[in-house]
Amino acid sequence: MSSEHEGEAVGRIVGGDSASLTIEGNNGANLELDELLVSESSSSDYTVLKINNMSYGPPTNPVVPDAAKSLHDDRRQDREEQDHMFYMARPVLRYSEGKLGIPKVIPQLWSEVRRANKSDFEFLTNNSPDTVFIGKIRSGSRVMDIDIRLNGRDLLTHHVMIPATTGRGKSNLVKVMLWSILSSGRFGILLLDSHDEYYGRTGRGLKEHPDSTERLAYYSTDSVPGSFSLVINLESIEPDHFEGILAFTEAQKQAISLYHRAFKEKWIEAIVRGKEIRESVSEITIRVIQRKLRRVLGIYEENGRIKCESSVFSADSGTTTLVDIVKSLESGKTVILDTSRLGDDGELLIGSIVAGRIFSLYRNYKGSGELDSKAPVSIVVEEAPRILSEDKIAEEGNIYSTIAREGRKFNVGLIAITQLTSVIPRTILSNINTKIILGNEMALEREAIINSAVQDLSDQDRSIASLDKGEAIVSSIFTRFAVPVYTPEFEQFAATERKPRGMNQGLIM
C-alpha cells in the first residue's frame, strides 16, 4: 500500500470486545493480517490495533446520528454493491496524554480507523548504543521506517528464543542482530556455528563489520587468516561438561569422579593411560569410559603418548583457548566457534565447556562485586532441543538449563534457536522472556509457541502461520505488545549500516 493512503480512514469499528474489535473495512482498503491501525480521539489520545484475523460478511446497519445519516446512507448504498471485509483486531497499545500503556478502554463504536504511520510511534524513538536491532516495524506486509531496538542488557540476559521452521530467515535474523551487537561492542556473544554461516568464510558475513578486527573472534578447525584454531586442551575439560551430552552409568560416573579427585586436571589422560588409583575401579568400567572418550574426544594412547584423532582436542595445544575466549566475551566481543566439522557430541561438549566456564566465572564476579565491569554475555545455541529438551535435562540438567534458570542473575543469557518448541520444557520456556517468532506451518509447534509467549497470542495462530520470510512477531516482556517486525536481508542491512552507532534512531520498546 502506498504511503499516500496513510492518514485516510480505512474502516470503522462496528463491534467486538476488549480482546477483539470488529472493523468493517472501507471499499478497497485491502487490509492485511498483522496490519497496525489507529483509532484516534485526538492526536494525543489514540489506540493502536493489530489485525489478527479477517472474514467476509454482510454489511452492517449501524444506528448513526442524524447529522451523519445522509452520508451514511450514501455509503451504505455503495457498500451493498461491494464485497464486504471484516477485520478482527486487538487493541495493543494506547497513547493518552503523553502516557503509553496497555489499553484499558476500547475506542468508541463506529469510530474510524486509519493505517498506523511513523508519527504514531515517534515518541518511542531512542538512539542508545546499548540496543539490539531486531528489524523494522511491519504493518501487514508494509515495512515502516521505524527500527525495533531492544535494550541489549535486558534482552540478552533474560534469554531469547527464535522458533521457526527451515527457510524462514532464522540465520538472517541472528546475523542482523549480531551485526548490531558488534556495533555496540558492549555485549559478549558466544555463537556455536554448526553450519559455519555467520563469519562469512565464502560470502558476506560478520567479518565485513567495520569493527570486526577488534570485536570479532573466529575459531575454526579450518583456519583463515586472522582466525584462531579451534583447539581445546584436555586439561580444560571437567567431568561436569559431559552432563546432558554423554551418558555415563552410575559406576562410570563414580570412576570418573575418583580419577578427577586423584589426578585433578589430568584425569582424562589418567583414564586413557589406564593409570591405577587407590580405590578399586573395575577394568571393564575404565575400558568403557576410554571408548566413550575416544568416540567424543578422539583421544587415545599410542607408544606412551596421548594422541587425538581430531585437531580440536589436544594434550599439548590450546592451553589458553578457554581463557582467551572468556576474555573476549568479558570485553564485549563476539566469539564464533565454527563447529561445522565436528560431530554433534563434540560440538555440544565444546559449548558446554565454554558455557560452563563463563557461567562459573560470572557467578564468581557477582560474589566479588566485579560483575558490573564485565559485558553481559549471551550464548547462541542452534537446534536448542539438543541440549534443552525434556530428555536432555530430565535427570540432573546441564549447563544450559542452569543458565536458562539462573543466568539472568549473573548477566549470562541464551539465544536459543529451534524448530521444535514443543519438546522444550515449560520450566525452561517460562524463563525465556523474549520470543522472536518466525513463520511456522506446524500447528503443534504454533500451539507451543503461543502457549509460551509473553503476551496473549491466542488469536494469532493464523498470523504466525502466514509469516513470510523475514517477517516475525516479537513477543517480549520488554515490548508493550507482540510487535510485527520485518528483518531486512543481512547483505542489504550490512551495506547500509556500516556505522550505526549513535546514528540510527529506533524504538526501545
Partner: protein, 422 residues
C-alpha cells in the same frame, strides 16, 4: 640428508651477576661447539641472541668469538631479530654482525601496495629455503603478519623453514595467557619447519597445515619463573634437525653447561626461628656443589618477622658448599606481623606491564601513541631502553642525547616536542 641446529632466546647479557653471565656464555659456547661436532649444515638463531639491542661489548666480544668459529667451520648462522634485539634507532648489534658477514638475516621484506612480501634465503649447501619475520616488543610485529603475502610463500617449492620470534596464540602456555601472541592462521602454511623463538619452554606443535612448529626455549635466562622452572627440572637446550625433502628427525640437545638445584621451604605454622632452623638443616643436607641454586621460601610465618630470616648467612653457606650462584625467591613468604604486599608477580616484565597498563590512564593528553595499549607498549619499550647503560667511552652528554633521541623516536613525539620548542 641435511642437518641444522635451531637455537633461540639465548639472552646473552641478561644476568647482572658476573658468575651467571659467565655461565650463560658457557651454555652458549657449548651449544655452538655442539653445532660443530654434530656437523650441522647451518644454524638458526631465532631471535633474542642478546638481551638488549645494544649489549655490553664484553658480552658481544665473547659471543662473537664463538659465532665466528662456527662460521669459519663452514656453518652459516641465520638469524632474525627477537623482541630484545630491537632498538628504537633501528640499528642493533645484530645489524653490525650482519654487516660484518658473521651472521645472515633471513628477513628480506618488500612492502608493495600494502602487502608484505618476503624473499627466501637459500642455504647454498643444502638448498633449504629460509624466510621469516622478526619481532618487535609486545607483539607489535602482528601488523606485519596481518599484511603478509602468504600465498607467494606457500607457492614456493622445496624444503622451507619459516623463522619467527613470536608467541602463537594456540600454543602459548597457561602462565603466559596475558602475552601478546599471533594467531597461527596468520602464518603461511605448508612450510617444512617453523623455527620459533620467544616462548621460554621447549615444545613441538602441529596443527592442520602446519607441521613442526618448534620452540627450543632458552639455554639459560635470568627471569624468575624461568629460573625456577629450570631448577625444578625443566629441560633447557636446543634442537638438531635432520632433513631431506622433509623433516626426518628432531632431536633435543640438553644443555649440560651446568646443573641446577631447587630448594623449597614452607614456613607455615612455624616461628621465624624454627623456620631458620629448617632452612639451615635443608641447606646442609642438599647437594649444591657446582650447581646454580634456586632457593624458594614461602608460607606464613606464625610468629616473628620475615626479616629475622638471615638470608645473607644462608646464601653464604650455599656458596661455601660449592654453589655456583644462589637465586632467592621469597615473594610468597609472609608473616602474621607484617601485612603482605597486594601485588605479587614473579616475572618482572609482566609486573612492569601490568603496572604500566594500570597507570597509563593517568595521561590526559590526546597523543595516541601515549594512550591505551599503544601507550603501554611504548612505555614498556621506553623502560627497557632506559635500562641500557652508558657505553664505555660514551660521554654523559652523548649518552643523555642518545637516550633523548631514542625516547622521542620510540614515542613518536619528536615533531610535537620540537614544534613546541621552536
Amino acid at each position: 640428508m641435511g642437518r641444522f641446529a635451531h637455537i633461540a632466546d639465548v639472552h646473552l647479557g641478561s644476568n647482572r651477576e658476573k658468575s651467571m653471565r659467565d655461565l650463560e656464555m658457557r651454555a652458549f659456547h657449548e651449544a655452538m661447539d655442539r653445532c660443530i661436532s654434530e656437523k650441522v649444515d647451518f644454524t638458526i638463531l631465532s631471535g633474542d641472541l642478546f638481551h638488549t639491542g645494544i649489549p655490553d661489548l664484553t658480552v658481544v666480544d665473547q659471543a662473537l668469538v664463538k659465532i665466528r668459529e662456527v662460521r669459519d667451520s663452514g656453518i652459516p648462522v641465520y638469524v632474525i631479530y627477537g623482541s630484545h634485539d630491537y632498538t628504537p634507532s633501528g640499528t642493533s648489534v645484530i645489524d653490525l654482525l650482519t654487516t660484518a658477514g658473521i651472521i645472515q638475516k633471513v628477513v628480506k621484506p618488500h612492502l608493495e601496495e600494502g602487502k608484505l612480501s618476503l624473499e627466501f634465503t637459500e642455504d647454498p649447501r643444502t638448498g633449504a629455503k629460509l624466510s621469516g619475520i622478526s619481532a618487535r616488543s609486545n607483539g607489535l610485529e602482528r601488523k606485519y603478519y596481518e599484511i603478509l603475502d602468504r600465498e607467494s610463500l606457500e607457492k614456493e617449492d622445496g624444503f622451507k623453514i619459516f623463522v619467527f620470534h613470536s608467541g602463537i596464540t594456540e600454543f602459548k602456555p597457561e602462565e603466559l595467557s596475558q602475552m601478546e601472541t599471533i594467531p597461527l592462521s596468520y602464518f603461511p602454511r605448508n612450510f617444512s619447519y617453523y623455527a620459533g623463538g620467544h616462548i621460554h619452554k621447549a615444545g613441538i606443535y602441529k596443527q592442520p597445515g602446519y607441521d613442526n612448529i618448534v620452540f627450543p626455549g632458552p639455554l639459560v635466562t635470568g627471569y624468575g619463573k624461568d629460573l625456577e622452572n629450570s631448577a625444578r627440572g625443566e629441560k633447557r637446550g636446543f634442537y638438531i634437525v635432520d632433513f631431506d625433502s622433509a623433516v626426518r628427525k628432531i632431536r633435543f640437545v640438553e644443555s649440560t653447561a651446568f646443573s641446577w638445584a631447587y630448594l623449597e621451604f614452607d614456613s607455615t605454622g612455624k616461628s621465624s626461628a624454627e623456620f631458620s632452623g629448617d632452612i639451615s638443616s635443608g641447606v646442609e643436607a642438599a647437594n649444591v656443589e657446582g650447581k646454580v641454586v634456586v632457593l624458594k621460601l614461602k608460607g606464613m610465618i606464625e610468629s616473628g618477622r620475615t626479616s629475622e630470616i638471615d638470608i645473607s648467612r644462608i646464601r653464604d653457606r650455599l656458596i661455601s658448599r660449592g654453589a655456583l650462584h644462589v637465586y632467592l625467591n621469597r615473594h610468597s613468604l609472609f608473616s602474621r606481623e607484617y601485612s603482605p604486599v597486594n601485588y605479587v608477580e614473579t616475572d618482572l616484565r609482566l609486573l612492569e606491564r601490568k603496572l604500566l597498563r594500570e597507570n597509563i590512564g593517568n595521561y590526559r593528553g590526546n597523543i595516541s601513541s601515549l594512550t591505551g595499549e599503544a601507550g603501554t607498549a611504548n612505555a614498556e619499550e621506553l623502560l627497557a631502553n632506559m635500562k641500557q647503560e652508558q657505553k664505555i667511552n660514551e660521554s654523559k652528554a652523548d649518552y643523555a642525547s642518545r637516550k633523548r633521541n631514542e625516547a622521542l623516536a620510540l614515542l613518536g613525539i619528536r615533531d610535537i616536542l620540537e614544534g613546541d620548542s621552536s
